[in-house]
Symmetry: none
Subunit: 304 residues, 2 copies
DNA sequence: ACACCCTGTGAAAGTAAGTTTCATCCGTGG
DNA sequence: CCACGGATGAAACTTACTTTCACAGGGTGT
């Protein structure tokens, strides 16, 4: 069939350009002109129409097609998308992203955004990596079996605690969050075997959180600590320790990264719990979603 | 010219897919079918011809073209190569990780954790990618110059709003957060030129948040919307629109991803504002950090 | 030198893909 | 109930892609 032995490029997803320049010398003059354009700027070539490219290479469309076949493509469109893909792949090494570091003083906002996103995303990933599924499992188990769950966190961790409480509540688990230590302590004193107390503290050194867990533990409840520091004081009053992995504690970028890391852990626990009773959780979620539906603006569409 | 206000995708090299899924709710039903196919498997869509894709989406070619225009492309070929490029860039969905999807019923916790972390991290990254630094800059500018800042968010977005308020407050900006709509409206009515109102709503359709921004705007304050959907109602009452890029809106894993995305944006704004007055912000942070120091557990064992 | 390939090439014809137009169908609001 | 406007697909149309074919050179054997 084919007169020329086609050299298939389908099996080398990573090196179309390399492939092409490799067999450049074996191509006919007119095809070489095409090839050179393609190799010189794949992204640009991908943007061109076949007629356009032919003109640029001072040849006819037919030759461009022949070129496509010569390099193992079915036709021009295929070449085009392969080129686009290839061109996209060979871009931006994460350049000047300051890895766990600070934001340089002169940075413009775009840089700041890139740095933050990088650090935030890392915190999430790394937290997940070092999370111990076995411990999570146990915590999920405890929560699923608990008749009451109390979550405590002070300051910034309070948001996370509150969030967790709300999520649990939403799938029908009886959960509480008390922003105030005294109330929390009082309530913790009423916990008992089979209940769960969760203490959230980035530093693991927040006196309040520790006290609350201590109290809960004394009453026989299972205690869970969520902290960034696996050897911090709070871990000593916790039956289960879950850790985040936000490396920086610098004021600037660090604060949010640790928050995100905490939320990620919460998310995992939540989904774990919800997965335990798929039907019930789903139902509960749907019901609660409907509940706020009337507070949504009408057709949700275009310009409402 | 264009009946629909095209939202150009040209300036966001990083997030066509994200961009599309953000626009999803604002598309017509038939276009949504197309969009879903595209988002589900961009690489595959890039391989298809327009007729093919139209058939797969159970619609006509005309609709596919309309879809292309709706998401800011010139035509189908352009969409195709952009998709190919996008698909190539993204690290392939590590194994069984359901990319913006659901958690498989039989999954064990380790899998769940991996999936969640993947989605959460992506939401953060993609949000940052599609954030427009110019808009951020303007918002930062407005906040820096504001004599008062009010943040509003209902439900889950309330946590984010509250968090933002607290952060701003901590670096010495006068910021408020009102969990209650009535209070928020009342307060918004007292805003004036030079003030800033920030409305946070994932769906962009929360009536309360819209009302608050409307009120604030009527009083001459600058209004900022933070939403996942660039064409949602809230964007119409906002001077500045910042978007997140949490692709899923499924109850389970999606909820948290969108939260993280929102927080990432908040973080960027916060750092931007703080960077404007490095010295003052740093000082403020140190002072506030010291303030809670006494609530930390003493010499704390290893890590205090 | 001449006839004969054989290869490379582009013009033109042919086919398929993409785009526009337009009539129809629906739901909405008067 | 009708007018209106958006959504939609059928069909007309345009552009892009592919195939066919004829022809120009340049070897090669007689």
């Amino acid at each position: 069939m084919a007169k020329k032995p086609k050299i298939s490029a389908s099996q080398e997803p990573g090196g179309l350009i390399v492939h092409i320049s490799g067999l450049l010398p074996s191509l006919s003059p007119a095809e070489q002109r095409v090839a050179r354009l393609v190799v010189a700027d794949p992204a640009d070539a991908a943007r061109r129409t076949i007629t356009d490219l032919a003109t640029a290479a001072e040849t006819s469309e037919a030759t461009v097609i022949r070129f496509c076949r010569s390099v193992g493509m079915d036709g021009y469109p295929q070449l085009r998308i392969r080129l686009a893909a290839e061109a996209a792949r060979r871009v931006e090494p994460p350049d000047a992203r300051v890895v766990g570091g600070d934001i340089p003083p002169g940075a413009d906002l775009a840089q700041i955004i890139a740095t933050i996103a990088f650090n935030d995303a890392r915190a999430v990933e790394e937290t997940a990596e070092q999370l111990d599924p076995a411990v999570c499992e146990q915590v999920v188990e405890a929560i699923v079996g608990a008749s009451r769950i109390e979550v405590y966190g002070a300051g910034a961790s309070g948001f996370v605690a509150s969030d967790f409480q709300q999520k649990l509540h939403r799938i029908g688990r009886t959960a509480f969050y008390f922003p105030d230590v005294h109330t929390a302590l009082t309530s913790a004193a009423l916990l008992g075997r089979g209940d769960v107390a969760v203490g959230i503290s980035h530093t693991g050194a927040t006196a309040d959180a520790i006290e609350v867990l201590e109290q809960a533990r004394a009453r026989g409840a299972a205690t869970v600590a969520l902290t960034n520091f696996p050897r911090s004081p709070i871990t000593e009053v916790a039956d289960f320790v879950l850790t985040t992995a936000a490396r920086e504690t610098t004021y600037r970028s660090g604060a949010m990264a640790s928050r995100l890391a905490q939320l990620t852990v919460i998310d995992c626990l939540f989904v774990g719990v919800a997965a335990r009773n798929r039907m019930r959780a789903r139902k509960a979620l749907e019901v609660t979603a409907e509940a706020v539906q009337t507070h949504r603006v009408g057709p949700g569409r275009r310009r409402a």
